[in-house]
């Protein structure tokens, strides 16, 4: 039986629509950033992932979250 972790998730811009700005969620230990994004049900086909931040530091999609982390998810912007 795995331990669980509590993560504070912050969504930005379009990712908030129909979802939330900030929410605490519980996941099994070893959960990655992309697994959380998929669990929340963010439409990354329409709005691809931009920057991922955990506790103020840039991380990749495979980053493993820890208990008490704050995880921020920004959609990509690339227009000019």
């Amino acid at each position: 039986m795995k331990n669980s972790i509590e993560v504070t998730i912050k969504l930005f811009a379009q990712y908030r629509e129909g979802k939330f700005k900030v929410e605490k969620r519980t996941y099994p230990e070893g959960t990655s950033a992309i697994e959380i994004i998929k669990d929340i049900g963010i439409d990354i086909e329409t709005f691809p992932i931009g920057v991922l931040i955990v506790n103020g530091r840039h991380v990749g999609e495979e980053h493993i979250l820890k208990d008490g982390d704050t995880f921020s998810v920004f959609p990509k912007v690339g227009g000019g």
Binding site: Q14, R16, G56, P75, G79
Partner: protein, 264 residues
Amino acid sequence: MPSSSLLEDLESQQIDGFLSYDIHHNLKEKYGISYYELEKIALENDIIPLKYKRNANSIKPNEQLKLLTSKVAIIGCGGLGGNISEYLARIGIGNILLMDFDKFDEHNLNRQNYSTVESLGRYKVDVAKESISKINPSVRVFTCKEKFDGDFEPLKEYEIIVDALDSPKTKLLLAKKAKQYSKTFVHGAIGGFSIQTATNSTLQTIYRDVTGGAETTLGNLPFVASFCASLQASEVVKSILGKGELFEDGIFFADLLDNEFFIV
């Protein structure tokens, strides 16, 4: 060396240390030199073109000269590049390279500076150059009507490279080139109500792949483009003058829909 009679003319015709456009123009004609050259001589002698009067003490006379002799390359002349080039021309950056292969289309009118119903179908860089010459004739504008594909030798000659491109793919290529040439690189991007900007970033943490972002679905809005362009122009000027803080330690994000602003 400027002729002594030119210096005497400048000295006798300046008013309270300022040089009006009419006198600037007349002396340029009289001595057969360019607006740029005459402006440089004036600034070297602490005479400020009147058009810069409201730059006042934010930009000191020696800094105004530094801006005039600086060289900035703006890659992309759409929503960002159009505005950035105007801001830089107005503040007095003397050498600007504009690169964009595209012509004005009707769907540019909502946000792209210099686009009008009359300029539809014309090359963006040609219209920009004409417009800048009317705003500040001292600015030397160089244009290139090619698509940036990762390689562009003339970039070596510019001290600052501004990213006003419209796709992560080309933005990444430009960041790479700027790093290779050891140039200051001012990134900006927009999509929907959101913007981001960063200086001297390789963009690796921003773009994990080359696909487009929110802009492909949400488009680009006029005040979002000019907001981002303002920040980029500010980064350029501070970088040239070596003062203030740059967005070097993080990426600045703004969401104008929810009015949220932060550096991560």
